[in-house]
């Protein structure tokens, strides 16, 4: 009986087609690049800060010019200053993914309910999907790419690997960004507090207990 579910057999012919294959990411990158090219046609020049005053936090004050199209912003992401012309509707999440090509930060629900998009702004974890990129001038944004790299992992990244704190991995960068921020937040040492502190990061695979183990290991060492 040949009633097995038919699966596309990708393993055999994958090496042969590797160079021709359009991956999901390369496809999106090409589309994204085209999008940017179109976007640059609509640029508006920057006319920052009508007063030139610095606000209390040292950020430039004033008006972001938006006659009809894009706004010009300077964003500090992972220590690098980026000059960007973006639609004011661009969320911080879409900005880092689509404009800066930092695709480690993931889009899950896009409504602040899952935590996959967690990044740090001035050292504090936030949902980048519920924040407009253009409001973050003068602030320090850190994404998963900014806390560690292959060969030089952040202790939390290493602990997630060691404890199998993931299965599919989609939520993982958000989990790790949350977990790194948690290290400096006023929570007790209990597992219960870790679970409460991490409740804004949903893991569909249910790797929760391993995530708690990973975080607790780093907390004990730090």
């Amino acid at each position: 009986m040949n009633d097995k579910p038919q699966r596309p057999d990708t393993t055999d012919d994958e090496p042969a087609t590797l160079f021709e294959r359009v991956t999901r990411r390369s496809f999106l990158t090409r589309v994204g690049a085209a999008g940017v090219a179109v976007g640059t046609g609509q640029l508006h020049s920057l006319a920052l800060a009508d007063s030139g005053d610095a606000s209390q936090n040292g950020a430039p004050s004033g008006v972001v010019p938006t006659d009809s199209g894009n706004v010009h912003v300077q964003l500090n992401v992972n220590g690098t200053l980026h000059e960007l012309d973006i639609d004011p509707r661009t969320t911080l999440l879409d900005c880092v993914r689509e404009h800066l090509r930092l695709t480690g930060t993931k889009k899950g629900c896009d409504h602040g309910q899952c935590g996959a998009c967690t990044v740090h702004v001035d050292g504090r974890r936030v949902n980048s999907c519920l924040s407009l990129a253009a409001t973050h001038e003068g602030e320090m944004i850190t994404t998963i790419e900014g806390i560690g790299r292959p060969g030089n992992l952040h202790p939390m990244q290493a602990a997630f690997v060691e404890h199998d704190g993931f299965q599919c991995g989609y939520c993982t960068s958000g989990q790790i960004m949350s977990a790194v921020a948690l290290l400096t937040e006023p929570y007790s040492h209990s597992d219960e507090d870790v679970k409460e502190a991490m409740s804004g990061n949903i893991c569909r695979c249910g790797a929760y207990s391993n995530i708690v183990s990973a975080i607790q290991q780093v907390r004990r060492k730090s």
């Binding site: 007063s51 005053d53 606000s55 209390q56 936090n57 950020a59 004050s61 004033g62 008006v63 972001v64 938006t66 006659d67 009809s68 706004v71 639609d87 004011p88 509707r89 969320t91 896009d110 409504h111 602040g112 935590g115 967690t118 504090r124 974890r125 936030v126 949902n127 999907c129 519920l130 924040s131 407009l132 253009a134 409001t135 949350s178 921020a181 948690l182 937040e185 006023p186 679970k195 409460e196 502190a197 991490m198 409740s199 804004g200 990061n201």
Partner: protein, 340 residues
């Protein structure tokens, strides 16, 4: 999301000027409850609703860096809380933890750590309902589109209100912070081109009646600048208890904020506010009256619970909230008395 003009205000005056002087294709200056101008602070409600096309501002004024980010003691013992103080900062502030634990507990029971890092005091006061019909532009909703009808009455209303509802709206106010502030008798301070106002929190929130689209007493171009709390009653004990479908990161099915003072074995001061069951943060004068002068014991707590829910009107799916809210009040009072 529809296109909008984004502006950034450096101070309160600039924010008010921007709200009064729209440019481009925008219509006349308008209130926070209409569709043309919105102040953006943490964005956790506003951006969410803009993505759903529930909010469609033509101008967004970024106020998240206004110099309103301090928590300070007032002469006379109270505290003043700036409108842009983050929920996490307020919850963990030493003054709040020491003197207003009910507020700290309420804030920490709400949302997630990420959202609490973003959400502000002023924004939390203006948080919109989680009623699914309000969030779904394909369905009628009197709050979103006045006169279109209420889909929740007879629809999915398990998480909606049983106190203060009208035939036009049964949406629950989702805030935890505002419930604690109601029990603490907070005052909301605003500024507009017409001047400054101070509004008792119970007057700040409006009942839906026939105008559920109007949720607060804020006027055109008016900005919340800060919230003040009166000095805590000496010897008071306070607790926020929240009951919900999940252990964390979920809105209340019922919650209770209690602030109680006992002297010589009698309750001589008590404030009770409920969340998750009211169309606004629900101050229960009835429960307070049932407790005043009585010994803090189980029969008194049950009497208060009965009094608080006496006027409850259940919908097709949320009748369970009546007993749930009663037990929430009883348990919160029990915990408060134990917190010696």
């Amino acid at each position: 999301m529809e296109h909008f003009q984004l502006k950034r205000a450096a101070d309160v005056k600039q924010a008010l000027d921007m709200a009064m002087a729209p440019t481009g294709t925008a219509g006349p200056a308008n209130t926070q409850s209409t569709q043309s101008i919105r102040f953006l602070a943490g964005g956790t409600t506003l951006l969410d609703l803009m993505k759903l096309d529930v909010e469609r501002p033509t101008q967004v004024i970024d106020i998240h860096r206004l110099p309103l980010d301090k928590v300070e003691t007032l002469d006379g013992g109270g505290v003043t809380i700036g409108a842009t103080v983050r929920n996490a900062d307020l919850a963990n502030h030493p003054l709040i933890k020491a003197h207003y634990p009910v507020l700290s507990q309420a804030l920490l029971s709400g949302a997630s750590a990420q959202l609490r890092n973003m959400a502000t005091t002023g924004g939390n006061l203006l948080q919109r309902t989680r009623c699914v019909y309000f969030r779904d532009t394909a369905t009628p909703c009197n709050k979103r589109e006045p006169g279109s009808g209420c889909s929740a009455i007879g629809g999915f209303n398990r998480n909606l209100a049983i106190l203060g509802t009208s035939d036009h709206c049964i949406a629950t106010n989702p805030s935890d912070m505002s419930v604690a502030m109601t029990a603490l008798e907070a005052t909301v301070h605003t500024e507009s081109p017409e001047g400054k106002r101070s509004i008792a929190i119970d007057d700040f929130f409006l009942l839906p009646g026939t105008t559920p689209e109007r949720e607060t007493s804020l006027n055109a171009g008016e900005l919340i600048t800060h919230v003040t709390l009166p000095a805590p009653m000496p010897g008071n004990r306070s607790v926020y208890l929240k009951l919900r479908d999940r252990a964390s990161y979920e809105f209340a099915l019922a919650s209770a904020a209690v602030v109680v003072t006992v002297s010589s074995g009698r309750i001589d001061h008590v404030r009770i506010a409920l969340g998750g069951v009211g169309v606004k943060p629900w101050r229960s004068h009835e429960a307070e009256a049932a407790l005043l002068g009585r010994a803090p014991d189980a029969p008194a707590f049950r009497a208060a619970a009965e009094a608080a829910l006496q006027s409850a009107r259940p919908q097709s799916q949320n009748g369970f909230k009546i007993e749930l809210a009663k037990r929430c009040i009883q348990h919160a009072l029990t915990l408060a008395i134990q917190t010696a």
